[in-house]
């Protein structure tokens, strides 16, 4: 059985699907018995959603219009 430290190190990779089969099985085995690491996993998921949500940026109509004007200029070039 892998330790909490090892499981935590792999959690985001596990969420990203970039761990191989044996690492994946090791993380899942650990999660079945360790409540704290389940909490870590849930929090890692929350944190990813939190990052995606807050990194967003509205493209204002003025900026949008200017970028479109550039595209139109290029088309006429």
């Amino acid at each position: 059985m892998i330790s909490c430290a090892e499981a935590v190190r792999e959690l985001w990779n596990y969420l990203d699907g970039v761990v191989d089969e044996s690492e994946c099985a090791a993380v899942e085995e650990h999660l079945t018995v360790c409540r704290r690491c389940c909490g870590e996993l849930e929090f890692a998921e929350e944190l990813r959603a939190f990052l995606a949500r807050n990194a967003d940026e509205e493209l204002t109509p003025a900026v949008h219009a200017r970028l479109h004007a550039t595209l139109t200029d290029l088309e006429g070039a």
């Binding site: 990203d16 929350e46 990813r48 595209l71």
Partner: protein, 202 residues
Amino acid sequence: MTVDAVRTEETDPADAARRRFRELVEPELPRLYRLARRLVGEDAEDAVQDCLLNAYRKLGQLEHDAAAPGWLTRILINCCRDRHRRRASRPQELTVDDLEQFSLYRKLVDEDPFPYSDSLHLDFLHRFGREDVQSVLATLPEHYRVPLLLVYVDGFLAKEVAHMTNAPLGTVLARLHRGRILFERRLWDYAKANDMLRDPVA
């Protein structure tokens, strides 16, 4: 005359290329602008403009249309780097020892800033407004910020990010790992520095 007009509208290859360019770029504009904002702040619009001009000149290099989002992103990252070249310093890799031990999840359990909360971790995140998160992101060195945004916000694969940033895959994976830990630690530091760790109930 009539024949020429028809030719220009329907079969002129330059015309077709321009139309293709617009069709590829238009849907990507909001995403490119968002990324540029996180990379060069107020210079974002100029960086996207640079990106459009460069991309238009290099359109012949785009092999197939499905690759357009990654191709445009690669060009944008280079434009952002050019704009900030004077400010940029050599990427300093933080050592694993500096970071490896930090887990925001465990830090919150250990410090228990909101003793009356039964959803401590979510309450912590809810203290942050969008501007707070963006301030925290802005403190991350660019070589950590870029992979985090491309993977967790834009949904690219690590190997695509490797190509976009001209870095080996192993380097990108290591930077993602350290970038995540650094992001967690900076969230904690920011909350502490901005007095966000007080329990409103207490």
